[in-house]
């Protein structure tokens, strides 16, 4: 069976993401990568917690002065929803419905973009309203590094999913690209996992003080 | 076993002694472990060389043996662990440092050690005096230390008296040492050194520690305290030197022991009792020749030190004058 063979609903297997050896490898390898990413983000969280509110002067703003609930709430809702939309995309992939999958992926990308846009607005806000910058204090460095790393992951995920959508728009689903879509969606969920901790640890705990 | 007043194998204080005892204990255990291995090793190599083409029996393992060589090491480790943990807590016990009398004074001898590229400052907060490069302590009692660094990390170590502790840049570390009068040769000082890589002259960031009986120590403290303002030089030459010093050097170097500037702003070793110290810049023998060489070009003696190029070139006459002045800086006799 050739991996890029034209597929039909009849031939489409139940787990298209791990039919070939390559696919199984990719699936497993990607999970391991996520295991490593867990440690990577834990390291960033640890740094943030160690340096939270650690500023050189007493007149500088701290976490509880900076963060506001509404914006974070909206961002959280957007990103959580994008997780659901990507689940929908995978649902349609399993049913061999390429069109619907693309649509749901498209929605995911749009939501991701909204999230990024808000994040940029947020950073801009802190810089201009509070003078809270990457270089103004250790707290600033740690905050922007942690949240920025997450943002960079979002941006990379968007590029990745978009590339996949464009590349395969003409070809449709097959056993060669199904695993690619699948791991991209895993990646997207993982970004969401990280965000759950960011909004909890950075924003909510920051506001509690 | 190395040089007295330097080697960890010639302990001269409670901390070093305890550490030495632990070393001996663990060395004995280690030698025993190695002996067991060596015996098996030799037997194997002698007995089981290949003699013919027979295929030996393929043994899978042996539970009894495996249990033995799991349990015995566990026991050995426990034997080392107990004194280790006990001594860790003992060495970290610095409560006495903060124990205040009713009038707010502290009985314990406390020294604030500030490490800077590449010199040491010793401040006695309870006595209100500061000295540099040569630590002075009383014998036979615990001396408590507050350790901090002003630029990069250093590490405070007097091998013969006890294990080291780091001078971090962001927090004060505390520990204590004790100097045994029994092991102190009055003509020798303890060698102390920086044990953390801190730049080119890390190797030369040495200091000395002078352990005095309590009475002599008290005498030294009161002599130091007596210097209230910079002493005026007595000879002409020295007076010339003092003038130069007051022009070019006083900005960094203090010559009074009660240094008013905040600790972070003290840029150079305090020279109040320089003439009585045994060393220059931590490791050069204190004599006129070395002093002149040092002042002429500190860079050759301590690459990367912070004094180089901070004052103009000195003429030979100026050097003579400065030397006379500096050598005269004494607080005792």
């Amino acid at each position: 069976m050739h991996v890029e063979e034209k597929m039909t609903v009849e031939k489409w297997p139940a787990s298209p993401e791990k039919q070939t050896l390559e696919a199984k490898n990719k699936f497993l390898g990607f999970w391991f990568f996520l295991g490593g990413e867990t440690v990577l983000f834990a390291s960033l969280f640890a740094t943030y917690l160690a340096l939270k509110d650690s500023v050189p002067r007493s007149d500088m703003y701290l976490a509880k002065d900076l963060f506001e609930i509404p914006l974070v709430f909206v961002m959280t809702m957007i990103l959580l929803t994008s997780s659901l939309t990507s689940v929908y995309a995978m649902y349609h992939m399993k049913n061999f419905d390429f069109k619907k999958m693309q649509i749901w992926l498209g929605i995911t990308v749009v939501l991701g973009l909204c999230f990024l846009g808000l994040e940029i607005y947020e950073f801009n806000h802190y810089v201009h309203e509070f003078g809270h910058t990457f270089t103004s204090s250790a707290f600033g460095s740690a905050f922007y590094t942690l949240v920025g790393f997450h943002g960079a992951h979002v941006a990379f995920g968007l590029l990745w999913i978009t590339t996949l959508m464009i590349r395969n728009s003409k070809r449709g689903l097959n056993l060669y690209n199904a695993p690619k879509f699948y791991v991209a969606s895993l990646y997207w969920h993982f970004i969401d996992v990280v965000w759950v901790f960011i909004f909890t640890v950075v924003y909510l705990m920051g506001m509690v003080g | 076993s190395g040089q007295p007043h330097l080697s960890t194998l010639q302990p001269a204080g409670e901390v070093a002694q305890k550490q030495y005892d632990l070393m001996v204990l663990s060395t004995v255990i280690m030698l025993a472990v190695m002996a067991v291995v060596a015996v098996i090793f030799v037997v194997v190599l002698v007995k089981f060389r290949r003699k013919d083409d027979k295929i030996p029996k393929q043994v899978e393992g042996n539970h009894a043996l495996e249990i033995i060589w799991t349990v015995i090491p566990i026991l050995l480790i426990l034997i080392i662990s107990v004194p280790t943990v006990v001594s860790i807590f003992k060495f970290a016990d610095v409560d006495a440092m903060e124990r205040k009398n009713e009038d707010g004074t502290v009985d314990a001898t406390v020294v604030n050690v500030r490490a800077s590229l590449y010199w040491w400052e010793f401040e006695y907060p309870n006595e209100g005096i500061v000295t540099s490069q040569e630590l002075v302590v009383p014998t036979d009692e615990k001396v408590y230390f507050n350790l901090i660094a002003s630029d990069v990390k250093h590490s405070f170590w007097i091998p013969a008296v006890g294990g080291k502790m780091d001078n971090n840049t962001e927090n004060v570390n505390k520990f204590w040492l004790e100097f045994d009068s029994e092991h102190v040769d009055p003509n020798e000082l303890f060698q102390g050194r920086c044990a953390e890589l801190c730049g080119p002259s890390h190797a030369l960031m040495d200091f000395k520690a002078k352990a005095l009986p309590r009475a002599e120590y008290d005498q030294w403290v009161s002599d130091m305290k007596n210097v209230e303002e910079a002493e005026v030089a007595t000879t002409d030459l020295a007076q010339q030197g003092q003038e130069i010093f007051n022009q070019s050097c006083i900005g960094c170097h203090a010559v009074t022991p009660s240094n008013g500037t905040p600790a972070e702003a003290r840029l150079a070793p305090n020279l109040t009792n320089f003439g009585e110290r045994s060393i220059i810049a931590g490791y050069l023998e204190n004599n006129e020749e070395n002093l002149k060489d040092w002042l002429k070009d500190p860079e050759t003696f301590k690459p990367g030190n912070k004094m180089t190029d901070t004052y103009g070139k000195l003429t030979p006459e100026q050097l003579d004058a400065l030397t006379a002045y500096l050598m005269g800086l004494k607080v005792q006799d």
Partner: protein, 111 residues
């Protein structure tokens, strides 16, 4: 890796069956999503309502985050499915290292 392919011999029947199963799973996904949103809301409310003490709120919202992550991993990312033994092992190992790291940075690093 076990192959979860189901086979009755008749492709049409299979497809119907699988579709139904997928749809059912999707329904579960939507339910977990709703729960996640709910948990998020509680967390935000707990913080917004300023009467609670931090000693209560912080562990509470951390717990909520933990639950959410379980939803993500086990439902959205299918970690509960068969064939995820190795991923599970390595994710748990990663979490242990993560936990130790964070524990260290919140205890033995000072101000």
């Amino acid at each position: 890796m076990t192959n979860e392919q189901l086979n009755s011999g008749n492709p049409r029947v299979d497809i119907e069956y699988r579709r139904k199963k997928n749809a059912e799973e999707m329904r579960h996904q939507v339910i977990s999503f709703a729960l996640m949103i709910f948990l998020t809301l509680i967390a935000f409310v707990a913080v917004a309502y300023e009467e609670f003490s931090g000693w209560f709120v912080v562990p509470f919202i951390l717990l909520l985050a933990g639950v959410q992550v379980i939803f993500q991993l086990f439902y959205f990312m299918h970690m509960s499915h068969k064939g995820h033994e190795a991923p599970k092992l390595f994710m748990y190992a990663g979490m242990v290292v993560a936990f130790v790291t964070i524990l260290c940075y919140t205890t033995i690093i000072w101000w």
